[in-house]
């Protein structure tokens, strides 16, 4: 097949605006008479709290301070479970939970007012270790187990698989919680159009979902909300969950807007999701020739205080922990667990990035024990056209894994 446009490295259509500095990111929008918002966030990981905004309200230039009682619709959001509060009502579950949003005539005044709000915490015991959290002695969300998801895979006979194995390797791996560190910190501006449409302009990965979440929190039909998504300064999964969108909408409607907010880098770090850290206990067995016979894994993913995409991420870990290999006997248990840590959600690779840290080192260890090369053991087990995954899915086409392995091995002269 020959193509005219497909397969050509055409110049990126948004490139010109970006190399000339004309591309508009949310922080680059300035409107007449705009007000500035700043968020007050929790400084303790688990506590009941009360707020006293009276001193802050008296500061000249403070227009209004919004808290949980000012959320017109549902005080909740979340990509899967609605377990985030727009503003915490009584309880905080992590450091960085939003408590209030100050709107003032200048950023400086808003900041001053945030500092003038008095917060009284009644601290609760907190849990930071996901293994501890699985005992449910301290509950992060009342009335719910901390274990919010359990992925189970059972294929073949795992005991028999290991019994037949000539070599078995077992280890525990730990991956860390990391940040997307996109270059553009969160920013946005909101205003109300003449017909009452609420316009929120912010960098997001999924404008239509933001529209629904804003509408639910505002208690208006989705058609009354418009999300404008200008240039996005990197995302990598970190702009999946709502950060400032609803705060801005509430403030714009109540004050008449426009209201702008720009997060500092420090606030950006606490405001958006993180990559789930995982504890991966894994046992892998192979026969004399290096054919994989069995794999058993237990994965514990710490999702922090909110679920975000935890269920999908953990499922993805469970599905991908086998590596791209044909294995007849597989047993996997993967758990997503609430703790009082920063909340974790989507980040590039989404659960499939963590598990190869374990699986792929296991492969090398098996190869070493068998006296074969890392390349060889991979070629022996790699998926090809027609292979069946541990989930029982048939890979019918477009499976050029062996080509990939051979090409990189050749390039670095690995045999």
């Amino acid at each position: 097949m020959s193509f005219n446009v497909i397969g050509k490295s055409v110049i990126r259509v948004d490139g010109l605006a970006k190399v000339t500095g004309k591309a508009v990111y949310p922080q680059d929008i300035y409107m007449d008479g705009m007000l500035y918002g700043k968020t007050l966030r929790s400084t303790v990981p688990h506590a009941y709290f009360t707020l006293d905004t009276s001193k802050a309200e008296k500061i000249e230039g403070v227009v209004r301070i919004f808290t949980a009682k000012d959320v017109p619709g549902h005080n909740a959001h979340g990509v899967l479970f609605k377990d985030h509060e727009v503003f915490c009502a009584q309880k905080v579950r992590r450091i960085g939970d939003p408590l209030a949003f100050v709107v003032a005539t200048s950023e400086k005044i808003a900041q001053k007012a945030v500092e003038a709000i008095e917060v009284k915490y009644e601290e609760l015991p907190a849990v930071f270790d996901p293994v501890e959290a699985m005992k449910d002695e301290i509950k992060v969300h009342d009335g719910t187990s901390n274990i919010i998801y359990h992925y189970k895979l059972r294929k073949g006979n795992i005991e028999e698989g290991f019994a037949k194995s000539h070599v078995v390797v077992e280890n525990v791996y730990k991956t860390s919680m990391v940040d997307h560190a996109f270059l553009q910190p969160e920013a946005g501006i909101a205003y109300v159009e003449e017909d009452g449409t609420i316009v929120v302009c912010a960098a997001t990965q999924y404008p239509h979902f933001d529209q629904l979440e804003i509408a639910e929190a505002m208690g208006v039909p989705a058609e009354k909300v418009k999300v404008i998504n200008p240039a996005v300064g990197g995302a990598f999964g970190g702009r999946e969950d709502i950060t400032l969108q609803i705060h801005l909408a509430i403030a714009a409607v109540a004050t008449g807007g426009p209201v702008k907010a720009v997060y500092s880098r420090e606030e950006s770090f606490v405001a958006h999701s993180k990559r789930h850290p995982e504890i991966i206990k894994i046992k892998t067995g192979a026969d004399k020739e290096g054919k994989l016979l069995a794999l058993e894994a237990e994965i514990i993913a710490d999702t922090g205080a909110y679920a975000s995409w935890a269920i999908n991420v953990t499922r993805k870990s469970g599905i991908h922990v086998t590596g791209p290999y044909v294995i007849p006997n597989v047993k996997v248990d993967a758990y997503a667990v609430y703790t009082n840590n920063p909340f974790c959600g989507a980040m590039r690779g989404f659960g499939a990035t963590q598990v190869p840290i374990a699986t792929e080192q296991q492969m090398d260890m098996l190869a070493e024990k068998l006296g074969i090369s890392p390349v060889e053991i991979r070629l022996k087990n790699a998926f090809t056209k027609g292979s069946e995954t541990a989930n029982g899915q048939i890979l019918t086409e477009s499976v050029p894994l062996i080509t990939c392995i051979k090409k990189v091995a050749d390039a670095l002269e690995m045999a």
């Binding site: 948004d14 490139g15 190399v19 000339t20 996109f182 270059l183 553009q184 910190p185 995302a235 880098r265």
Partner: protein, 159 residues
Amino acid sequence: MKKISLTVNGKLYQVEVEEDMRLLDLLRDKLGFTGVKEGCSEGECGACSVIMDGKLVTSCLIMAFQAEGKEIITIEGLQKEDGTLHPIQQAFLEEGAVQCGFCTPAMVLAAKALLDKNPHPTDEEIKEGISGNLCRCTGYAKIVSSVKKAAEYLNKGGK
């Protein structure tokens, strides 16, 4: 308030600045040069870089009053009035050095500051020249090759 004068992209500005205002705030909020980006506020990401008296500097680490009498170039000063791109901008486009674009304006300026001083840089010198500009998207490879290509364009007397 303090009155200062400075030149930005060849134009003289006389402005009143607050004592605690940074050059970054002056350029963005007062003068409207929003191609200057704020990414970290501590001179680490380089997104706010501008060229001041011929040198690449992070405008978040300079107080506005310090810029009295300075000549500043921002990304807005690179494109010619007829729309012709600066050879570095052209090379960035052609080589695919742009992704999210947030680091791009300052990255282009870093390349300019480097090439103004060293018209024939090696790969290592290019990497050093842009080492104060973080990019999370590109892994820098295409940026390095763009700077090389831009050097060729410039040495041939522009494209």
